[in-house]
């Protein structure tokens, strides 16, 4: 298995599209930074206009913590879409280039090969989110400095600077679980569909439907609590004033179980399927 993972790592490192994906995520970050730098204060003033008539705000609310929170919001659509395109390519490119057939003509077990793909997709996703967090942290703090965080979720929630940073770190960790879920789902879609363009469309559709279902009342409490679209925004719960840490932990655990189930199903299907 280690040899298969080493091979997957080498392939990922040598492919230019890996760097395009990383560059795309950095571009998103930079755009957020530029917008915040030039228009952030105006937007905040507009949002907090009423409050400012009744309360006195000390320091600047446009700070590194707020920027990190805004970057976190790219976990809704932009980042998972890029991740799904790259990770599904781990499988679809092998079909397209005929290398899957060449691999299967070697002394390699099918289930081990596809399991290595899943593991590599997870490692890649974790690495990307870690890089995203690190670059955001360095840039946001060095450009905008520290400060208290104001977040609007149903109501305005305020967090002290140190508490805000802690919550942002946990949110990145929780968001990573959601991103891993999307990556694992995209590998499974790639196994089923094989063709890269069709898989991208299916992945985008999956992402859109998941985001839509997040807001839909499914009528059954168990579904509303544990159906996977209801779990992908768990990282947002870290910015409620009263944080239910147990629910956050449970949600992430269930999402990881979904990842495991998708991996088992994908491996089984791939193992059963004819190649070519």
């Amino acid at each position: 298995m280690r040899a298969l993972l080493r091979a997957e790592m080498l392939k990922l490192i040598k492919q230019s599209k890996t760097y395009y994906a990383l560059a795309a995520i950095l571009v998103i970050e930079l755009l957020i930074f530029i917008t915040a730098y030039y228009q952030g204060t105006t937007i905040l003033d507009l949002l907090l206009d009423n409050l400012k008539q009744s309360f006195y705000f000390e320091g600047t609310l446009l700070n590194g913590n707020l920027i990190m929170y805004i970057v976190l919001n790219s976990l809704w659509f932009n980042v998972p879409l890029i991740l799904m395109i790259v990770t599904s390519g781990l499988v679809t490119d092998e079909y397209k280039d005929g290398t899957l057939q060449t691999v299967m003509l070697q002394a390699v077990k099918k289930w081990k090969f596809i399991l290595a793909k899943y593991i590599m997709a997870v490692l890649f996703t974790v690495t990307v989110i870690a890089l995203m967090m690190l670059t955001t942290f360095i840039l946001a703090y060095s450009i905008f400095g520290k400060g208290d965080l104001v977040v609007y979720i149903n109501t305005l929630n305020f967090f002290k600077s140190a508490d805000a940073f802690r919550r942002i770190c946990w949110a990145f960790a929780s968001g990573t679980v959601a991103m891993v879920f999307y990556s694992v789902a995209s590998i499974t879609l790639a196994i089923l569909i094989k063709d890269s363009a069709k898989t991208w469309i299916a992945a985008a559709l999956f992402l859109i439907i998941t985001n839509l279902l997040l807001k839909v009342d499914l009528g059954i409490s168990a579904l509303n609590a544990y159906f996977f679209p209801k779990l992908i925004d768990t990282w947002q719960q870290l910015f409620y004033f009263e944080t239910n840490w147990l629910a956050i932990g449970l949600n992430n655990a269930v999402l990881l179980l979904y990842c495991l189930a998708l991996t088992v199903a994908g491996t089984y299907l791939f193992n059963k399927k004819d190649i070519g």
Partner: protein, 284 residues
């Protein structure tokens, strides 16, 4: 050492293989002839274990970790990697030696240069075929399956690949099954031929046997063939540089002797092996 017994496979579009039996022995080069869509690739994929037959079985008498290697339809390579890295990846994933010495040895064996460090997307088709064979040979398989290995190669590339295939069978005792549309090359390098049509094996035998039994057209090259009296006894189509003589294979020695007696020195006599003839003769 490799046997496919009573193999059948159906797709939604119809039956691709119907009760096909095929055998290969070590050191033997076996040719599989057939039109496009005759079932060659399906048979190859079943023999290599890529797809499962509906009925029948594949038996491989080998204790090696990789009993069979091959290229099916086209060599599947990581085009963004160089030849060395391609071999390193494919060797590594199956636990075959992936050190520089072993990889350079296999590159040399298939006649690829050691100093090419650019991605294989820049390689010619012939070089890609050679790299595909190098990957197929990793982990010392006892059997090699090559689907259309000469496709797209220039004559020099074809000759070089034929030499490589013959040397692998003769020196390493590898059983080789290959398909091609180039009948002349197949007849030159194969010991045994199978003819497949519409999913059935319609003809089989040693190459010499099939030529002598089914081939009735021979291309003869010599000076002054137009004036040869001997040829008046045969049905002949004169070409620019040769004459196509229609006769039985058993008549060829007499024909050549008669031409020699006339003072005509034959420089080449080649059987015109055509797929249609091999299929038609059987159907008739």
């Amino acid at each position: 050492m490799l046997t496919g017994n009573n193999l059948s496979k159906s797709y939604a579009s119809g039956k691709a293989l119907d009760d096909v039996t095929i055998r290969l022995v070590p050191g033997q080069i076996c040719g599989l002839l057939g039109r496009n869509g005759a079932g060659k690739s399906t048979l190859f994929k079943i023999l290599c274990g890529l797809i499962k037959p509906d009925t029948g079985e594949v038996i491989i008498n080998s204790q090696r970790p990789k009993p069979i290697g091959g290229i099916i339809e086209r060599p599947g390579l990581y085009n963004y990697l160089n030849a060395y890295d391609n071999l390193k990846i494919f060797a590594g994933i199956q636990g075959a030696p992936a050190d520089a010495g072993s990889i350079n040895q296999i590159l040399t064996k298939v006649g690829l240069p050691l100093d090419r460090k650019d991605p294989v997307r820049n390689f010619s088709l012939g070089m890609k075929q050679r790299l595909g064979i190098a990957i197929a040979l990793l982990n010392n398989p006892q059997c090699l399956v090559l689907d259309e290995p000469f496709s797209g190669l220039d004559p020099i590339g074809v000759t070089a690949l034929v030499n490589l295939i013959v040397s692998l069978a003769a020196n390493d005792h590898i059983a080789i099954l290959l398909s091609s549309h180039l009948m002349s090359e197949i007849s030159k390098c194969c010991h045994y031929l199978y003819v497949i049509d519409q999913g059935h094996i319609v003809n089989s035998g040693t190459t010499n046997q099939l030529i002598s039994e089914h081939i009735h057209t021979f291309s003869i090259t010599a000076n002054n063939l137009q004036t040869a009296k001997t040829l008046q006894n045969y049905e002949v189509k004169h070409g620019v540089n040769d004459a196509k003589v229609i006769c039985h294979a058993r008549d060829i020695p007499t024909l050549l002797q008669s031409l020699l007696n006339e003072g005509i020195e034959v420089t080449a006599c080649t059987p015109e092996l055509t797929l249609e003839e091999l299929i038609k003769t059987t159907a008739a």
